[in-house]
Amino acid sequence: MKEKDLFLYELPFGPAHSGSGNFHVKIIMDGEKIVEARADPGYLHRGFEKLMEYRSPIQNAVLSDRICVLEPLSWNLVHAEVVDKIMGYDIPERAKYIRVIMAELTRVQSHLIWFGATSIATGFDTGFKIAIGYRDYILDLFEMVTGGRVYPAGYIRPGGVRWDFPDGFKNKCNEVLEKIEKGMASMDKILFKNHTFKLRTKDIGILNKKDVSILGATGPVARASGIKMDVRKDDPYEIYDNLEFEVPVEDEGDAYARFMVGREEVNQSINIIRQALREMPEGSISVKIMPFGKMKEGEAYARIEAARGEAGMYMVSNGKSVPYRVKIRGPSFLHLIPVLQHLLVGSQIADVPLIHWSLNHCPADMDR
């Protein structure tokens, strides 16, 4: 051991911290500077891939809520897509619109949690309360449509959706969107355009463009580093090819750029929801499904743009009523292990929570 190594010490970040699931990073420190970071995941492993091998697709739709608490409807959508591909369901047009509206509302509420947690990471608690307060209006919509504020119980499921929108949903949704826009305007004032916040987040945790594909970043993290990738545009699913929206891109690759990409995505999502509400046709909401029917033989991979990046699910079926094998690709897996380890090296100890939160992670979908 060299003499210099005697001054290095190990600092555990986590496993329990505010605002997110359990996740541990071992940080080797030299004074206030980080020399090495090792991610130590596994605290939230619940074994969804194995559990899904014992349940029929209808039951798996309920289970898929639990993959990520912060955006259950996105994971419902991935699961529904992959089973639809295997079974060859022809989804009714109205169901596709409902799926997109719910998925985009989920993205908005997930981003609001992100901004709230970011405020906490910078030591600004008021921002957290504002963000979570406005998020609750979206949860009211979820309660109205799915019967649960957070867990929709497999609302988006293979073959369509479980229930149609209730009466008066359109008006209430438009009201909520207006409220969210108002809330985002106040978040702009106190957070995104705040001079102190800019000082705190600029030039911190810079992810270069060439590292994005090496480390496997997707979603807002990749877009903030100047790479224009979005599954909704590159490989459109549901009705995204009929909708007009833009993919926000920033070039700096630092924490501030990631927040600004997220900020603009909220605007785009609101825009998408308004378009979809306007163009939504009447009709049936689900194909006829049998609760205990057998699955077709085959395999499929489906991917969607979740709030955190590319969420995917691979499923193999051998003709029984339950899938033979399921593999889940959580976007946070690559954000929290290779990307976080890369970004932490060389940064200051005070920036660790901020870098951690700027990646818009969810340890629950990493550990599955």
Partner: protein
């Protein structure tokens, strides 16, 4: 600064839950035909088909629901062919006693 707060003063004021809220179960034993769909469709295996206490009047098997295992997905309500199981808007289910969460099929519907 002067706008109304987003929250309500909870024990004195309550927000109305949505029509579709998935809370405590009610079970109507007279409607039940003992088909066992609820037992098969339950993802958490919270429902078990058992005999009722009053065996002369209700000779078949009926669902016993363990709310401690339940995930409130309402699949039992959705696939019940006769509408015998319904989820109500009641969400005050906290208890110190896990046995009181096991609902047996008879009329009183709570295990003594």
């Amino acid at each position: 600064m002067v706008s109304k707060p987003m929250t309500v003063k909870f024990p004195y004021e309550k927000l109305e839950t949505a029509e579709r809220y998935r809370g405590e179960h009610v079970f109507d034993i007279d409607k039940c035909i003992s088909c066992g769909v609820c037992e098969r469709v339950c993802p958490n295996k919270a429902i078990e088909m058992v005999s009722a206490k009053d065996k002369e009047k209700y000779p078949k098997k009926y669902p016993k629901i363990d709310l401690g295992k339940c995930c409130f997905c309402a699949l039992c309500q959705e696939f019940c062919p006769k509408g015998a199981i319904k989820l109500t808007k009641n969400y005050f289910l906290a208890t110190f006693d896990s046995v009181s969460l096991i609902y047996i099929p008879d009329k009183n519907y709570k295990e003594d």
